[in-house]
Symmetry: C2
Subunit: 329 residues, 2 copies
């Protein structure tokens, strides 16, 4: 920058004003300096700039699992939205490990990010988040939140989602409905289960806890959960799955057992990831619009960083049931 300034016959300070697009500077000088920059092939050092000005233009995104399309779609939403606002995203994945999550948060601190969007590891305490807040780094939680965390939150009405799914199954005539998959400590899972129970109660159906199985939120988890429930003396006629990925595992497991999803067992998923429309039978599922969660979170974080929001926000998106063929009995 010194070189540019010298070449254009101005001071460093003036050159600095220009790269920042200040209107304090005369049009003639601006042109002159801009030319010098082009001529010398000057590259702005955003890192040095951030160091001095204390505002970061980078934000951290911490998710629990990158393999799950729900999160990669959420990433798309966040990324798109923040990109247009001029932020740079630095990415971290916890793989559901609290230790990794701590490391990542430390890293975000060390990089002095302007804010963080995170989906906390199931069962993590609000303390980890307070660590960021202590440094005045805004945090927006997505999809899950630790009990009584007092943070901005963007998520999905999981109780409603669970209820929608199970109401539909009941309406279709099912009376033994299982709830399969997902990690037990996850707040999202607990809410979906709450919806499940509420629907049963409302229909006067008994709650049978042998029909509720937790597992990893993966295909493999879904397969295993299905085994447990299928081997019972009185197996269910329908299953509501923690998410679409689990549902895929369940369908895979059914096929392996020579059973036909939709005919021999009704299956409902959750998330409505793109692939849900492509399986056979196409998956009936609760639409959670991960991209929308992402864009909302990004917008909220942006406002927070700008200081345009004063009190804690909670954005709860309403899910909808997408009916396809996996329960057409």
């Amino acid at each position: 920058m010194q070189q540019v300034a010298d070449h254009a016959g101005v001071s460093r300070a003036t050159a600095s004003l220009i790269v920042r697009g200040s209107n304090l500077v005369a049009e003639r000088t601006r042109k002159k300096v801009l030319e010098s920059m082009k001529e010398l092939g000057y590259v702005y050092d955003r890192v040095a700039a951030n160091l001095r000005s204390r505002n970061s233009s980078t934000v951290g995104l911490i998710i629990t699992e990158i393999g799950n399309p729900f999160f990669s779609e959420l990433l798309v939403g966040v990324h798109q939205e923040l990109d247009t606002k001029g932020y740079t995203v630095i990415l971290g994945t916890t793989f559901e490990s609290a230790e990794k999550q701590d490391q990542l948060l430390s890293k975000m601190l060390e990089y002095r990010v302007g804010g963080v969007i995170m989906s906390p590891v199931s069962g993590s305490s609000p303390a980890v988040i307070d660590r960021l807040k202590q440094w005045d780094i805004p945090v927006v939680l997505v999809t899950k939140e630790p009990a009584n965390s007092n943070s901005d939150y963007v998520g999905i009405d999981n109780v409603l989602g669970g209820k929608l799914a199970v109401d539909y199954l009941i309406e279709k005539g099912h009376r033994r409905i299982a709830f399969l998959g997902g990690p037990s400590e996850s707040s999202a899972r607990m809410d979906r289960q709450r919806g499940y129970i509420r629907a049963l109660q409302q229909a006067g159906l008994p709650f049978d806890d042998s029909l509720v199985v937790t597992s990893a939120a993966t295909r493999q988890g879904g397969r295993e959960a299905l085994q447990q429930v299928l081997n019972q003396p009185n197996p269910p006629t329908a299953v509501f799955c923690y998410n679409d990925v689990v549902a895929f595992g369940v369908m895979l497991g059914l096929k392996e057992a020579g059973l036909m999803p939709g005919r021999d067992l009704a299956v409902v998923g959750y998330d409505n990831i793109e692939e849900a429309a492509m399986t056979s039978p196409a998956l009936t599922t609760v639409m959670a619009s991960p991209i929308l969660v992402g864009t909302n979170a990004a917008n909220l974080l942006h406002k927070r960083i700008m200081g345009n929001e004063d009190h804690v926000q909670r954005i709860i998106l309403k899910p909808e049931l997408v009916i396809r063929e996996s329960c057409s009995m």
Copy 2:
């Protein structure tokens, strides 16, 4: 850091040595300073550190499309590998726009990344990459490369992949085989087409260019390409698709037209993304192991950054055919 140093009764320089894990410092002092850090809640400022020491510990990853599972799996590979080596990934998506790609490269420069892994936009010239090299920033290209770029490259033997797929279809008795989808300028697509043509020639089959259709590398693109080829007077009995996502679109289109993939038209994909095993019928496809591409690229970049590689590397992974049910006629 000044505060920590004062509190521990040492100088800034000593404290700095300690955070960097130097062995020049006495064990007793180290302990003392580490304690002061804990007590004062000190947070290392990696940004400031990078500014002075000129080595970045962040690397850029530029991909063309985040929605495509091929890339999100590649991202997983890169991310995992670089994570363990202590790098931080900053992410960019070009959406196949050369302009966006330029912007992203500028951004990477401004952030003084230590290196870049990128899948260049189809048809981009080597000039954009030279811009980085001029600043001594190592670049590893993945999956596609501009004509005579002289860079490190990790990719898949697409000619072989195309040949494997079409050989198989020919062996199954097909004689009219289409090649559908993908952007025309993409080097990956051109190579797969080359393999397709080679297989036809070897079997003494004629090349009919009305059976080759380009499109966006998306589901929708696949659907559209299918229409074109299906409305012909003499439609094909098998299609080889540019990638799995396109193949999904094709299968969707077939179902919409009341046709059954595998029975009425054989379908082969490319990539072997996770979902390929889950569709119905399960997709026969060429396994390209995006994760492996990612980890290889990450390793190569790491070596380059360390200065452990002297001459240009090209890593070409050999694909394999994964036979499932989508051509079981």
